[in-house]
Symmetry: D2
């Protein structure tokens, strides 16, 4: 049977949005009702999940999104954004180069942590004590890698985002918004990492947001996806600030450090 | 004088954030206060502008961000996201390839429209009637390009996002949140484009959001920057939906259309 | 001990190139000698390996690079390049969006195939008959995935790049340029896939180039890296051709297919 | 008339390549003949221009491609590649983030220089003395920007790539391969910049390659496109070297410089 135009339409079928002349629907809802009727965070939820969140779900998603927007100019994504912004490309391009770096190591800890906690939570749900489940999963994870995703921080003894984020999860558990399995798993892992150590290894921002995304029912790859939306804000702000400083072809270290640097001729485009 | 470590620190100085051990501040505010204390939209404003928005400013920014999240799978950015998501790269990479396409033609209309409206508004502020200013600026713009940024739409006779967005701006003008210069300029241009034509060319979503970003005091390049944040939501949702469908190496048209397509061997990775 | 400027210099130390005022060296060789003294392909080898190739090695690398430059506009990378080129971004940005899609599924088959063949070759080197080694490795691979990297093609019964590429490898084995372990492994796998089947599953371009890169001593991730260099040529050519056609915001399917498409107003920038 | 499948095929029509079952043609030539029959540089020319180059044209294109592959780890594109390579993304993604930065400021000088020299050459062809044409065009360019594309260098008093590149162009003019208009224009501009100055501002690598690409008949945007192909080699080599060093989340400056840096816990993934 020869292919038809319908085959082409089907190839690009989607449940996310419907666009026809004078009609835009997002997940079946007219855009006119969404504008002014739903918050930006609620629309993020709507597009990813198909239905809008409850106000309590929305609030919990919001604190997670807010918490990860920036971690200073030495975070690789932010450094890339600032360098890129000086090279004569659009802000969209600078953001793209930076978002592109949010990979398994830079942005992927949340996704991996969610998988680890999901395993602990699943075992705890079958009746195994959460401490034992956590201990067993941590041991397995450690056998594979010396990094435990979502725990500890190179800079911070306690990540300053930990306490406020966990407090919001605790409240959401208390009022029945979420079930608490990821939270209990995360705390059990944290306790294992604190036992018999001079210096504990508390849960970090990747771990806390993994707890939130897990409690809210997002799939693990969306821990990375939501981190992208969050960090894009800081990426944009830094790219924009750098643009305003007028540097051209910013390198990672100041030109004064280049060996026997020669004062520029006023013409140079370094390539 | 030889370079010092301080030169290096200065090279990466920023007013956006401060990160020290156990300290994260965004625009001088501890992250602990921001988490739960500010909405995601307010944080976007804070990072870009240095101070938080008023609730009325935040509301107006929010409707603009909400309005542009998606325009269906045939928009180039969304198509790229869906294709990229089938190639074995992370969600962050698929988003990056897509955000990268939000250039002068795909996402830049808002930035250009803001510049055009700013010119009209500036002339109107000096006492020139806004209709005359609009007429003169439109004529000048037309001499350069057959596209008037922010007006008309390939699909829609009236962009369904126009009315709700302009209504929010009107309310913000009425209650004194914003001054109204961009709105008056935009309407004046729209009237010129409707005069003596069988088919009017109403302001589209790029134009409406340009009005909002202009009224709120954002610089023109941030019309593109904010569009990036908004459209990233739809880009992520489409990339994620495509991921769930399990296609590999999705091309733009279905394989059934390939000439004399041969059923796959079950092994093929097309390269 | 406080950090010093030397720490900064060390942080960016590299053996690839040395750039000082009036000095550019690539892998210790003055650029003046390289320009005109080495071919582009030889410089690719030099930068990746540290030393220049022999003429025979260079020739073998060249046929691999030449073979993968393009696979038509329906290959995801090429489609992305053409779509991106219509969005008002630079050629570099269009190339970047496209190269970004050369991931585990689109460009990664070569890397995976090289790992598979390396395993077969290593076992064969210990004295195990290559047929048995191939059979065992294929079985193991199949247990993990229904795709065998580097074999079969969705379009082609026999990839037209197979025969000329393998012929060059055979010649290089015959004259002692390379040892032949990867070639023997690849052929052994091909024979297993042909046994008892109505339709054989011959080695494809990813497999053939994996053989070449493996014989030449490149590490598996560079199979992807070299594919990036090769395919960038086709990506650029398609982006450039598309630029010349003047389309704006090209979607994956023609506007005529959009339901009840309305002729454009002459103004529209679709967003 | 309703759309047809043919419309879809036409939408993706291309003269670059033809791919059908068991057939791959590049610019009308079977890939089997190209593999082994044409050099990598010749294939670059073929895909961009439609016909293969003469050996002399190929040689001249090759020296230009060879000359720009790398300019050390402080060039923004290379720095981005190295940072990106430590973030847990593929080599293709690291290359993409880096290639993306080759914009108007970082890679665009060649394109702009080619336009400037084309203007000088066009006026000289009408009989105006090239010195006067150059003087007039330089004055016009200077009125717009303090940077003259293709001249001077922040690091080098004389770019070490200048002499060998210009020598190759001179030879190509001498043997009739190219006409020499761009070369004469470039030298005339250089002389203007040397007149009455303590320190001359010689043509740099962007200018020299602009001369070559212009002499060979490439359109100005391809100066950037060809630079992308060339610099991708250095980008890949640096990303690959960085990968081998095992750093995770490399920032632009060493952690030792972070204020009161705390030794890591052995767990940290900085986000």
């Amino acid at each position: 049977m020869p292919p038809t135009v319908q085959d082409v339409a089907d190839w690009w079928a989607t449940a996310v949005s419907r666009v026809e002349p004078d009609v835009i629907e997002l997940r079946g809802r007219p855009v006119q009702e969404i504008i002014g009727g739903m918050s930006f965070v609620a629309v993020i939820w709507l597009l990813l999940r198909g239905e809008p969140p409850t106000p309590a779900q929305e609030k919990l998603l919001e604190v997670a999104l807010v918490s990860s927007v920036d971690h200073g100019p030495h975070a690789p994504s932010i450094a890339v954004a600032r360098i890129a912004a000086t090279c004569g490309i659009g802000l969209n391009n600078a953001v793209a180069s930076a978002v592109n770096t949010l990979g398994d190591v830079h942005g992927g800890a949340g996704e991996q942590c969610m998988r680890m906690l999901a395993e602990v939570a699943a075992r705890a749900e079958t009746g195994e004590p959460v401490e034992r489940a956590a201990s067993s999963v941590v041991a397995k994870w450690r056998a594979r890698s010396r990094y435990l995703p979502g725990y500890g921080h190179r800079f911070h003894t306690v990540d300053p985002r930990r306490d406020p984020l966990l407090r919001h999860v605790e409240e959401a558990v208390a009022d029945g918004t979420v079930a608490g399995g990821y939270l209990r798993a995360a705390v059990a892992v944290e306790q294992i990492l604190a036992t018999g150590r001079a210096r504990p290894v508390p849960i970090n921002v990747d771990g806390c947001t993994a707890v939130i995304y897990g409690e809210l029912g997002f799939a693990p790859p969306l821990a990375r996806g939501l981190f992208v939306l969050s960090r894009s804000v800081g990426i944009l702000a830094h790219a924009w600030e750098e643009t305003g400083q007028g540097r051209r072809n910013k390198g990672p270290i100041p030109p004064s450090i280049t060996p026997t640097y020669l004062p520029g001729s006023g013409h140079a485009l370094e390539t």
